[in-house]
Amino acid sequence: MREIMKIELKRAFINTKFYIVVFVSTIFAIGSFFTTPGFTIAKNWFLYMNGDLDASYIIEKCDYSDVAIEIWMPNYGASSKFYFLWLIILPLLCIIPYGITYIEDKSSGLINQYIIKIGKGKYYVSKFITLFISGGTIATLPLFINLIICSMALPFGLPVRSTQFYPVKEYNLFSNLYYQNIVVYLMLYFLIYFVVYGLITCLALAFVYFEENKYMLLLVPFIIYFSEHVIISFGFNRYDTSLLLATNIINLRYENILFYLLQIIVLFLFDFLFFFRIRRDVI
């Protein structure tokens, strides 16, 4: 199992498609920094530190409470075009490097050699885990890059609740953690992103039995992800609980957690269809 995982992880992370996706994601992360009010704050701090008088008036009013997390891209949500565009096409980015390798293995006959050597079960499990890790990594990487860029502009500190600058209120998930232990909050934030987008990317494996065209399979997670958002927004009138918006847990309220968890459970069960239907797979 360890050997096959090593091979599959190498296939997922050391290929040109992965580098291109990381490059595109980095552009989104940098663009998000430069196109939000956060950049103005960072610019004023830079001018202030270089002795600009006008900037000093602005900074004095800010009361020294600006921290990197204040100008981090999820903070500005839909007002940042780069962030919002990235969020919409994220399932596409996640699936490009590794998502259709199962179909490619099947059409090239490589799958036969794998299964003879290591067995069906191990092969399918390794495919699932690798795609999960690959999808999760691509989803969390731009957030991390943007956080690094923001940390280059402002000091990394604890948000101050009394300033009311921050979008996390008492009714938001982990709000106390946000104001008391930001590092743990960020770790949880990244973990939730990793798991949710890992699961969304794995939808391509579950749908491999319905659709064999690899280009169509590339679109499957994106279509389900976006249509789920549309159905929940217009059908249930709960736009802030869709996977597209609520995975940014800054938007997630305590009252919506059950609905959000339900979506993740359904997603997980859908992904699991991949293992259920293995028996019907004709190689």
């Binding site: 701090w45 530190m49 020294y64 921290v67 940390s151 280059m152 402002l154 000091p155 500190g157 101050v160």
Partner: protein, 99 residues
Amino acid sequence: MKKVLKIIVVIICFLVIARIAYVNIAYPAADIKIIDEDEIFDLKNFSLRLKEYDIYSKEEWKQKLENENIELEEEKYNVIYNMNLKTVLLEMEIIGFIF
């Protein structure tokens, strides 16, 4: 080619780490600081010393203003503050300018 790329990546990482370190050391920190009486804290251009402080509850603050014959902002402008915060009266001393 790979070696050159590696060197570029290492240089970028070094510059990023250096910049983050500079920002966190040189910028006035935004962390909440708990300061006690007589303690000195430094801002960019000057340092302050906390000489004295008194904490008032909402009722105590109202009483104090009444005693000093100062009209309460809430009553004068008919504003309702929902927050039940305590009021702190500070006395600071500027102990040094850096130009």
